[in-house]
């Protein structure tokens, strides 16, 4: 009973976060904040949903359910590593390609670059 309650709370919070992710992905104003919403919400809500599933699997504890639970927790582990890394890589690529920032005044400002101009190399006909 208690276990079921915990599982329901975990899954529901995961679903709410997924909803928040989707809303953020669709409604945020610019590239950076959209990717940030997708990356953060996706990771945590996947982890919460799978944590709920793991607990539910382990309600009758034996070798078979333990194996399934270990597999699920491996998924959590790799999503936890891969998803934020992918988000980081996408945002870094956008920063490098000078995707403009959003600002409250409405005009889109260029990304202020700490990377000097020469770092981007256009090469022709080596």
């Amino acid at each position: 009973m208690l276990l079921n309650t915990v599982v329901i709370i975990l899954m529901c919070s995961g679903l709410v976060l997924f909803l928040a992710t989707t809303v953020g992905l669709l409604r945020f104003p610019d590239f950076y904040s959209r990717v940030h919403a997708a990356g953060k919400g996706d990771t945590l809500s996947t982890a919460l949903l799978l944590a709920g599933l793991i607990l539910y699997m382990l309600r009758d504890f034996n070798g078979e359910t333990l194996l399934t639970a270990v597999k699920l927790s491996l998924i959590v582990f790799f999503v936890f590593i891969a998803s934020p890394t992918a988000t980081h890589a996408i945002i870094d690529a956008g920063y490098e390609a000078r995707v403009p920032y959003w600002s409250k005044t409405g005009e889109k400002t260029d990304a202020e670059h700490s990377i000097p101009d020469e770092s981007v190399e256009h090469r022709e006909n080596r």
Binding site: A89, S119, V120, E121, H122, E124, R126
Partner: protein
């Protein structure tokens, strides 16, 4: 010329449609394939090859010619991309490349890659080896293994990946996988059976006829896996650097 092509295409399409009218209906239980082939595969597959996964049995045993030439098609794709893109010293490209220099800003990517890539490679070997029992096999495992090398090239840089898996090695693997497949078939033929009739491996491996077919399937899957893996790496090397194999994305 263009109209001629168009006319030929229309004639071919009409011929195809005419022929398709004679085919048995979709999923017709009375069609020859459903009355003879499928029941035979399902009933005899495990008895004849000791491999529970019927898909693998059909792919790598009953229809192994088909699979061999699929591997050859993949091989040819890698060669063609190489012929089109790869620069030789005499033929320099005129492509303009957008090449960000990003040394020293990849710590996060590299750390994650170091955690994930070994697991990916072991999982790829598992997928190849477990194709007898579960979905998987040479094509899927090869793709996962190739993706791990592409991940190295993405998270570090192309030069780093090429140092570890050089072009010559990639090409040897591209050809070697297909050759391994064909060699298995040739060994069977030398032993007096049909080309790719894995029963011929029985006396070499010292196993029963049934187990020999299981081992033959595994060897063939490994060949396919090697080819697919190295073809993916080869395509990535050529496309990412547009043929320079020097530095890329």
């Amino acid at each position: 010329m263009k109209q001629l092509t168009f006319i030929i295409l229309i004639v071919c399409a009409l011929l195809m449609l005419k022929a398709a009218a004679d085919l048995p209906d979709w999923a017709d239980p009375a069609s020859p394939a459903s009355t003879h082939l499928s029941p035979d595969f399902l009933e005899q597959g495990y008895v004849e090859t000791a491999t529970p996964n019927i898909v693998t049995v059909v792919l790598a045993d009953y229809r192994s010619y088909d699979t061999m030439f699929e591997a050859v098609v993949v091989f040819a794709a890698a060669l063609i991309v190489m012929v089109i893109l790869r620069h030789t010293p005499r033929k320099r490209g005129k492509t303009i490349l957008y090449r960000p220099k990003r040394e020293g800003r990849d710590t996060i990517l590299q750390g994650a890659a170091q955690l994930i890539i070994p697991v990916m490679q072991i999982f790829a070997l598992y997928v190849v080896g477990h194709g007898h029992y579960s979905p998987g096999g040479g094509f899927q495992g090869g793709v996962i293994f190739g993706a791990s090398f592409i991940l190295i090239a993405l998270c570090f840089n192309l030069r780093f990946a090429i140092q570890r898996f050089r072009e010559q090695g990639v090409l040897v693997c591209v050809a070697g996988g297909v050759l391994l497949y064909a060699a298995i078939g040739a060994i069977c033929q030398v032993m007096g059976y049909n080309f790719l009739g894995y029963t011929g491996l029985a006396s070499i491996l010292g196993a029963s006829d049934v187990m020999a077919r299981s081992y033959g399937i595994l060897a063939v899957e490994v060949g396919v896996g090697i080819t697919v893996m190295s073809v993916m790496v080869s395509l990535y090397y050529d496309l990412a650097s547009s043929g320079d194999l020097d530095e890329g994305l």
